[in-house]
């Protein structure tokens, strides 16, 4: 799609069962900054059935406008229904930029919508800015396993589309009571054209949500086994945190994939990331380098993880982690 656009920066608001995925708010934060550079406005696009109660949250996190499509066919996520609805809204109101979460649902949606709009889409973007001269969106993403960074542009097609993983950008400030314009859009949808129906759902027994943890104690190959990870679990519990892991630790079977941090795992940005027995390969760093404070423990003084650490401790974790646990217990009056 080419042609004239409004100077609007849109964020697709991902909701399931009337709960908004927090990455949508993170994207509203970036959208605001981009909109300022374009002298435009920020809008959220909300699709679902009977979800209008959610608009106040979207405004609170900085949207100036909310486009909403409400339809029974949108009661739960189905590709064809959601793709058509988002496509129709974008075709009618012509945003300059459309950002989507790079969650499983967001990725599913983005590829279809970009194709319907005949525009470019950049996946897993880690940096977004506006080129001062051309006003194009600069979309930067890791390529070749994070070994290089590539800045992608979409100069002649609109909207410029990008997907962004959770926790790449910080959560913007929430302002209770902020409001804006609500635009209700009618879209025709039929069960016939959607073609897919949910007939069952098996919820995960336990979902590990390390993306939102404020403290992460992460272990790598140097932990040596499950017993070692038990220690890390003990420490993370004392800190109300979660346990993260490198891919090698996951592959060794010491901990499940849901804990994996990195390019092929999760992206995290906790207040404190404690990396224990992790060498700091680029694919691991890609998932944690935005952490506020990084502390690492490694016996190898040349380990790459030290290069990005606020505090690096050269030594054996088996000596320091048990002592740290005891010290925190004492602090909390538990020991």
């Amino acid at each position: 799609m080419t042609a004239e656009t409004s100077k609007e920066v849109w964020v697709y608001i991902e909701q399931e069962e009337k709960a908004i995925h927090p990455v949508s708010f993170e994207l509203l934060g970036v959208a605001k900054r981009l909109a300022q550079d374009l002298e435009g406005i920020t809008a959220g696009v909300l699709l679902g059935h009977e979800v209008s109660d959610l608009t106040s949250e979207i405004f609170a996190y900085g949207a100036d406008k909310v486009y909403i499509v409400s339809h029974p066919a949108l009661a739960y996520y189905r590709h064809r229904a959601y793709a058509k609805a988002l496509y129709e809204v974008a075709k009618r109101y012509k945003p300059e930029i459309l950002l989507l979460p790079a969650t499983p649902l967001g990725r599913d949606l983005a590829g279809g919508v970009a194709t319907l709009l005949e525009t470019g889409l950049t996946a897993d973007v880690t940096e977004l800015s506006i080129d001062k001269a051309t006003k194009n969106l600069l979309m930067t993403r890791p390529a070749y396993g994070g070994n290089i960074m590539a800045t992608i542009i979409c100069p002649d097609h609109r909207p410029q589309m990008a997907s962004v993983r959770p926790r790449i950008f910080p959560m913007p400030e929430r302002k209770e009571g902020r409001t804006g314009e609500i635009i209700t859009v009618e879209v025709e949808l039929s069960e016939e054209e959607v073609g897919v129906e949910r007939i069952g759902f098996i919820p995960k027994e336990k979902t590990v949500k390390i993306e939102l943890a404020e403290v992460i104690v992460a272990g790598g190959k140097g932990i040596g086994g499950k017993e070692g990870f038990a220690k890390l679990f003990e420490l993370s519990k004392l800190l109300n945190g979660e346990v993260g892991a490198s891919r090698l630790a996951v592959e060794a079977g010491w901990i499940s994939y849901e804990h994996q941090v990195g390019q092929t795992g999760k992206t995290v940005r906790p207040k404190v990331y404690l990396a224990v027995g992790i060498s700091g390969a680029i694919q691991h760093r890609a998932g944690m380098q935005n952490s506020d404070c990084i502390i690492s423990i490694n016996i190898d003084p040349k380990a790459d993880i030290f290069k990005i650490s606020d505090l690096g401790i050269v030594g054996d974790w088996k000596k320091i982690i048990p002592a740290l646990i005891e010290r925190i217990k004492k602090e909390k009056g538990l020991g």
Partner: protein, 272 residues
């Protein structure tokens, strides 16, 4: 009889990727090319379905001439027909141009032979990790898509119905769809088994049918390759590393002092 299409991509084996630190470019020498691992699952799934329901498997790929090796390997998964889309004008395609090139070829195959019941894709290609081509092709073919497929529970050819398990962030969704449908496959969707020697021998002899942008498939040349790609690489660089902070050596300062350093930071960050 099932008519199956599998779309595969040849990718560099990224576990072995090395980058020239001076130029920031990929060192291609000695990096083996493999079939994208998720596409292997799609092939194995097709192979299983063929065993159960009978039918025909067509495997397609777009890529440079050496991608024919990936297609030859597909014969080991009992592929009946292998199609290589290769042409200089296809080069430099982003996901939009790729989905166009594949979808037009698929439409051509359907017109000259018969329609497919299932289109099987990988969840994503490990070289770019975009996961965009499957949903893109589905949009162009105007068929439903189910991503992150882990299992086919049921397939009823008479009723033209399929039941699929799909992995989501919160659990496993069970979806019923009408045929035709496009599935993108997770690792669990299909497991390769050892191919019989006869299949391996056949694979060695097999050569793909080759199509280009020469007019047999009615391509709009403006929508192919770099020309048909809305995205452009603006700049490439090696990521800069955050500055190193304080370093201490456990054996020099002792455990107690090291623990205090950590505690100090925990408190400064408000997590203790």
């Amino acid at each position: 009889m099932l008519n199956l299409l599998v779309s595969i991509k040849q990718v560099p084996d990224t576990t072995n990727i090395r980058i020239n630190p001076e130029t920031g470019t990929l060192i291609r020498e000695g990096v083996p090319a493999v079939i994208n691992p998720y596409d292997i699952s799609a092939l194995a799934l097709a192979c299983n379905l063929k065993k159960t329901y009978g039918g025909k498997i067509t495997v397609i790929t777009m890529g440079p001439p050496q991608a024919r090796l990936a297609l030859k390997e597909a014969i080991e998964y009992f592929a009946d027909r292998i199609i290589l889309l290769t042409d200089r004008r296809f080069a430099g395609a982003d996901t939009l141009a790729t989905s166009y090139t594949l979808a037009e070829a698929i439409k051509f195959l359907e017109k000259t032979d018969r329609p497919f019941d299932l289109y099987l894709f990988g969840k994503q290609a490990i070289d770019g990790d975009t996961a965009q081509v499957g949903p893109g092709v589905a949009a162009r073919l105007n068929v439903p898509v189910i991503t992150y497929t882990i299992k086919i529970e049921e397939l009823d050819l008479e009723k033209r119905k399929i039941v699929v398990q799909r992995k989501t962030e919160r659990g496993i969704e069970i979806l019923s769809a009408r045929l035709p449908v496009l599935l993108t496959c997770e690792k669990e969707a299909g497991h390769p088994v050892f191919s019989p020697l006869s299949a391996i021998l056949q694979a060695q002899k097999a050569e793909p049918e080759v199509f280009g942008a020469d007019g047999r498939i009615p391509y709009d040349l403006n929508r192919l390759g770099l020309k048909g790609s809305p995205t452009r690489v603006h700049r490439v660089y090696t990521p800069e590393i955050k500055k190193q902070g304080k370093m201490i050596n456990l054996d020099e300062v002792g455990v107690e002092a090291a623990v205090e350093e950590i505690i100090k930071l925990f408190k400064a960050k408000g997590v203790l």
